[in-house]
Point group: C2
Chain length 144, copies 2
């Protein structure tokens, strides 16, 4: 469904958010360990998320990643997925036609758009804060 990069990106963001709820900055090393991801690859993804302003990064000793409390409410899974995987999953044809066009539909168009729309709505309605909270109270897990 999502690329590995996207899975890591979501998990990293949620972990950063959860720690930021307690004013704790987390290092790349800690993140990769907690979400069970390859360090250097995770670094690339975090750099990209930092550049697009979803998380804040700081260099040097005591450096690391953190996330504004207010951003946790405005940033949804949709923004993260879109930033990393693009919009193919949101607007692309399920059978790979160059253009998904209701006027020239592929055989699965009618049924596929429903699924695609469900997914889009779900991602748009799910904030980072909501998921970070579930993590924080131990309701959900980021590995195993």
């Amino acid at each position: 469904m999502f690329s590995k990069a996207c899975e890591y990106g979501i998990k990293a963001t949620l972990f950063i958010a959860q720690k930021s709820l307690h004013q704790q900055r987390v290092s790349l090393k800690e993140i990769a360990s907690e979400i069970d991801s390859p360090i250097a690859f995770t670094a690339k993804i975090l750099q990209s998320l930092a550049r697009s302003g979803m998380v804040d990064s700081h260099k040097g000793p005591t450096g690391g990643f953190e996330m504004d409390r207010t951003k946790m409410d405005t940033i949804t899974l949709y923004e993260i997925v879109h930033a990393i995987d693009g919009d193919q999953i949101f607007h692309g044809c399920g059978l790979g036609l160059k253009q998904c066009d209701a006027n020239h539909p592929c055989p699965v168009h009618e049924k596929f758009v429903v699924i695609r729309e469900n997914l889009t709505q779900m991602l748009q309605n799910t904030t980072v804060y909501e998921l970070a909270s579930g993590l924080d109270i131990g309701l959900t897990l980021l590995k195993r």
Copy 2:
């Protein structure tokens, strides 16, 4: 969402089915042309679908691929996707945890299973015949 192999496999199957509605066998060359796919790669996928009994293949002059009318009713998109892409999309964790387990859920589990279930139901409820019919009356398209 689906792999390229799976997209080609679905389109090829639907084209074969549509032609079989008129007792017409179709060659690999014709299939690849009609669904706009690389010939040799499509051949691999069709070999696999033939081995798993979803379509019938015949060598030699007048050879090609065809599909039993009765199979069009029993084979759904689910079978095709499962045969080519496996069951990761139907049972795998949305965030890539090794095991999707409701008792040890990832942060998106609750919301993701709904989407996954919708997709599974849709694919299981969609027969090859239904889609081949839409193709046959010109309601839907396999390329462009």
